[in-house]
């Protein structure tokens, strides 16, 4: 009310002034009208003065901001189509980037929900390579005398089956909960007394596990469960937020002394110190996390630990004097350091390109709208609005679009993460690592802040250009009603759309390359048929073999020392120097089960039982060992390990899908015979008939029966290995494909918008052309041709950019390794087919986007347009 009165006051005062001035001028002899005009001339801009005088009393920018907001909202209400398109476009671009950021956030930025996470460091042992195994005593000394850590927690991740389902079990020292500040909502945490030699097995369940594994039992505390067949009492349930400090989800925390008993039956052969199983001599691999002593830096801790290590560990067989310390931040799953950023940056850049395309669209839309609003802006400027004020108005409008866009984008990002999870599970046969952490909480305030900032930056950056364009005061033209698009904004628009097409071409080429690589790898001939084949661990104990053979769906059973597709080559000394060769010991049934044909003859069961000096080599091994010679009948000698007369040549099959150092897949294999009772016969392979999924269950039941204490899954399929091998390629192709499709959609809509606008601008010209007899084919060709040229130029620029990126990537070995085992040998970054496909799609899309505008141009009525002005 007070403000209203003051505003009125000022207005009245100004009126008084003008009256008095006019009066004086009249007295000076002017006519009343001239006097009024003179008074106004002397006064200057009345509206502006009024505005300035009022502004003195207000927080000026706030009130004008409110005005701008009100005005902007009114404008949006009037053109809902424009508003929704802009918000939708931005939300799509931002949401995709947000999804990738939320993954980054979950892995790198969000600390574990523990007390003071940033003072926690993983101790990963000494350099060079002293193994991280300790006896209990050694560990306790390390913990007590530690010069760098105020407290150390040790833990060990185990897979345990519980009531037929796998559970993530973390065996931890008793200070785990107190050190990490993990609160327990029911019962008690683990305690010192749980570590004693006579202590019973106790466990704390995670809040999620209580719900999913203990049936949300309100009396969960005190329940006995069996983990790996061991009776364990649940003594507590952790509070909802707490889930340890590991990349995987934790279901149960058990006290460390359970390890010896729980490790029995572990399929991984454990080298225990000379058969001495007394607890104190047994070496266990621990993972360790320490809390840095107050005031100590990472480097200081390293130095202190190194000094300790040098003093404590005398060099002995297998040990060297420590020369360095491996220490890593443990606040997040991945530490935020140079390597991590290097890995995430390219991926992030690819997502950001999609946003860039979306922003170019938005910019073009704003530009077109800005031109359409020239009359309005011209009028406001004539009425005394400053140019700065107009720019501010347009910027305010940009921000008004940014906030709902950010909101919508967080929805898109959430949806994208959910969709990605679904894809991982159902389509891509997911990598267990990526799945293990719970992604439901991937959205948090960091993602929200990121999205808001990105939205504001992109709208301001891409709204500012059009705003500056539109607010250039051209009073005379605008008031005359001439809004011919000036050349500058036309140039800006075509630059934007060209950049857009180029970026789209780049992304499409990338997805073309990735998808073709994935196809090639999926069609890779492994040389064996793994469908319906199971690997079974521990079947050579008791009479398991006989029971598996007796199962109705078992077709045949054989043995091998190493799993098919996972036979790592070893280095041997030969007459012509050192060479690497993969060696597997297999029973005669092996080749039949995996459908590997043999030239010559197979092993006989007798040869298998007797470890006879015979061998079967793969075709490529034969070629390498005896080039240009018949291999049959030769003697293969691999170091002093084994030797044998070659009796058969097996068709090539891939030795391992994971060669060291990302080397090319090798098919060099030498097989020696093996009998079921051999010490090497650790793995049984079983071929089954019928549905593989149905065949799996009886096998699993049987193994669970015979191995109640088994550590993890005893039954697996080699096909799982194939899926894991393919997964990163599939994921890469899927991500690249999705980005490519998004880029294409956005680009087509952008090109469509710009060429529609251009046609609308040139209505008059088309009218004249039609009047002069241009036929529709010619006009269509003109409009489409223009876009075709745009597409070609964009595709060329995109292809050049792709080549530059490819050059960079072909040297970035570390990046490929970081991408979950994608070997750059399997992805041809210069794949011509991929480039051609990407470029062709862009050109076709650009030309196609001109079709509707071209039809519109053809249908221009010459009479009407020429009458227009």
């Amino acid at each position: 009310m007070k403000r209203r009165k003051r505003d009125d006051d000022i207005e009245r005062e100004l009126r008084d002034h003008l009256d008095l001035e006019a009066e004086e001028q009249r007295e000076g002899g002017l006519s009343p009208d001239d006097a009024r005009n003179a008074a106004h001339r002397a006064f200057g801009n009345v509206a502006l003065t009024l505005e300035d005088s009022r502004a003195v009393w207000r927080c000026a920018w706030l009130s004008s901001l409110m005005q701008d907001i009100r005005f902007g909202l009114r404008g949006f209400r009037k053109s809902p189509g424009f508003t929704l398109t802009v918000i939708g476009t931005l939300a799509l671009g931002l949401g995709t980037l947000g999804a990738s950021f939320s993954v980054f956030n979950a892995l790198v930025l969000r600390p574990f929900a523990v007390r003071d996470p940033y003072s926690l460091y993983r101790f990963e042992g000494w350099e060079p390579g002293r193994p991280r195994s300790y006896t209990r005593r050694e560990f306790q000394d390390f913990r007590r005398e530690n010069p760098a850590f105020s407290e150390v927690v040790a833990y060990l991740r185990l897979q345990a089956s519980m009531a037929g389902k796998g559970a993530h079990v973390q065996a931890v020292t008793s200070n785990y909960f107190s050190m990490l500040g993990g609160r327990v909502c029911m019962g008690r945490p683990l305690m010192e007394s749980d570590e004693g030699p006579s202590a019973n097995g106790v466990a704390v369940a995670s809040y999620a596990a209580r719900r999913s594994r203990l049936g949300a039992d309100p009396a969960a505390v005190g329940t006995m469960v069996r983990l790996r067949g061991q009776p364990v009492e649940i003594v507590g349930v952790a509070c909802p937020g707490f889930n340890g400090v590991d990349e995987s989800r934790d279901d149960f925390w058990v006290s460390l002394p359970l390890i010896p008993t729980m490790s029995d039956g572990t399929p991984i052969p454990q080298k225990t110190a000379s058969g001495d199983k007394s607890e104190d001599k047994r070496r266990v691999y621990y993972r360790m996390i320490g809390r840095l002593k107050p005031g100590l830096t990472e480097d200081g801790a390293k130095a202190a630990l190194l000094a300790y290590g040098r003093q404590t560990y005398v060099p002995g067989p297998g040990y060297q004097v420590p020369e360095g310390v491996k220490l890593r931040e443990a606040a997040t799953i991945m530490p935020l350091d140079r390597d991590t950023i290097r890995v995430f940056l390219p991926e992030f850049a690819a997502f950001a390109l999609v946003l860039l395309i979306a922003c170019a669209n938005v910019s073009n839309m704003m530009l077109a709208r800005g031109l359409a609003r020239q009359r309005e802006i011209g009028i406001r400027i004539s009425l005394g609005a400053g140019r700065a004020r107009m720019v501010r108005q347009l910027l305010t409008e940009s921000l008004l679009l940014a906030l709902p866009a950010a909101l919508a984008a967080s929805g898109v990002a959430w949806g994208a993460v959910q969709a990605a999870r679904w894809l991982q599970v159902n389509v891509l046969s997911a990598s267990p690592l990526v799945l293990s952490r719970d992604w439901k909480g991937a959205m948090d305030w960091r993602v929200a802040a990121f999205l808001t900032a990105a939205a504001v930056i992109s709208t301001v950056a891409f709204g500012l250009l059009p705003a500056l364009q539109a607010a250039r005061p051209r009073l005379i033209e605008t008031n005359r009603g001439e809004f011919a698009a000036d050349r500058r904004s036309a140039r800006l628009r075509s630059a934007l759309v060209l950049a857009q097409v180029a970026v789209c071409a780049l992304l499409l080429i990338a997805s073309g390359v990735a998808m073709r690589a994935e196809r090639r790898i999926a069609n890779l001939d492994l040389g064996m048929d793994t469908r319906g084949v199971f690997g079974v661990l521990g079947s050579n104990t008791a009479n398991t073999t006989e029971r598996i053979r007796a199962l109705p769906m078992t077709e045949s059973i054989g043995y091998c020392s190493q799993s098919p597709l996972a036979v790592q080559p070893s280095i041997f000394a030969g007459p012509a120097g050192k060479f690497s060769m993969a060696v597997n010991r297999v029973s005669p049934e092996y080749f039949d089960i995996l459908r590997i044909p043999i030239r010559g003859r197979n092993f006989t069961p007798a040869e298998g039982d007797a470890n006879a000096p015979v061998a079967i080599v793969s075709e490529s091994a034969a070629r390498r060992l005896w080039p240009h010679q018949e291999a049959l009948g030769q003697t293969v000698r691999l170091g002093n390990l084994s030797a044998g007369v070659v009796i058969g040549i097996a068709r090539d099959s891939v030795s391992t899908l994971w060669p060291d150092n990302g080397a090319a897949l090798s098919r060099d294999l030498v097989y020696f015979p093996l009998g079921p009772k051999s010490d090497y016969a650790t793995i049984a392979i079983v071929r089954t008939t019928g549905d593989p999924d149905a065949a799996r269950r009886p096998l699993e039941r049987l193994m669970a029966e015979t191995h109640p204490n088994a550590a993890g899954e005893l039954v697996w399929t080699p096909q799982l290995g194939v899926d894991l091998f393919l997964y990163p390629y599939r994921a890469l192709a899927a991500i690249a494909g999705i980005l490519g499709v998004l880029a294409l959609l956005l680009t087509v809509s952008g090109v469509f918008g710009v060429s529609s606008y251009a046609v609308a601008q040139r209505r008059k010209e088309f009218g004249v052309r039609i009047a002069l007899g241009a036929d529709s084919l010619r006009l269509t060709g003109m409009v489409v041709g223009q876009n075709f040229r745009l597409g070609v130029a964009g595709a060329a620029a995109g292809a050049l950019a792709a080549l530059a990126v490819a050059r960079m990537l072909s040297h970035a070995d570390w990046l490929w390794r970081a991408m979950g085992g994608v070997s750059m040998r399997n992805v041809n970054v210069f794949d011509v087919g991929g480039y051609a496909a990407g470029a062709a799609i862009v050109i076709a899309a650009a030309a196609a986007a001109a079709w509707v505008p071209a039809r519109r141009a053809v249908r221009v009525d010459p009479v009407e347009t020429l009458r227009c002005d």
């Binding site: 006051d9 000022i10 009245r12 005062e13 100004l14 008084d16 002034h17 008095l20 001035e21 002397a42 006064f43 200057g44 801009n45 009345v46 502006l48 003065t49 300035d52 005088s53 009022r54 502004a55 003195v56 009393w57 400027i381 005061p473 009073l475």
Partner: protein
């Protein structure tokens, strides 16, 4: 459009404030009178754009250096908004005046230096 570069407004603002305060030292006046007085006493050298007076008046009023009241003019039957100097305004005027004097003297020293003594 008027060319209103910020530099010039700022320069005007400071001096204009002082001139207004000095004018009001003579007694209450309304906006038109203030402007006229400044013009006449400077022999029309200082051509204050009439409009620019009013934001300045609002500013001074907000700072409580002057206060305003609607009063009927003596010579006619009409109300005008009369401004008066407050105690704070008087103090402010003194401060500005001495500042101004120093500034003028300093400028004078540069522009017309005293002849050097031999």
């Amino acid at each position: 459009m008027q060319d209103r570069t910020p530099d010039r407004t700022e320069l005007l603002q400071g001096t204009l404030d002082m001139l207004i305060l000095r004018t009001l030292l003579l007694g209450p006046a309304h906006g038109h009178q203030i402007g006229k007085h400044i013009r006449q006493t400077t022999n029309d050298v200082l051509q204050v754009e009439h409009g620019s007076l009013y934001p300045a008046l609002q500013r001074l009023e907000r700072k409580k250096w002057i206060y305003a009241k609607w009063e009927t003019a003596k010579d006619r039957n009409r109300e005008f908004k009369y401004y008066r100097l407050t105690a704070a305004g008087r103090k402010r005027l003194m401060a500005e005046e001495s500042n101004w004097k120093r500034l003028v003297q300093a400028i004078a020293c540069v522009m017309w230096p005293a002849p050097e003594e031999e």
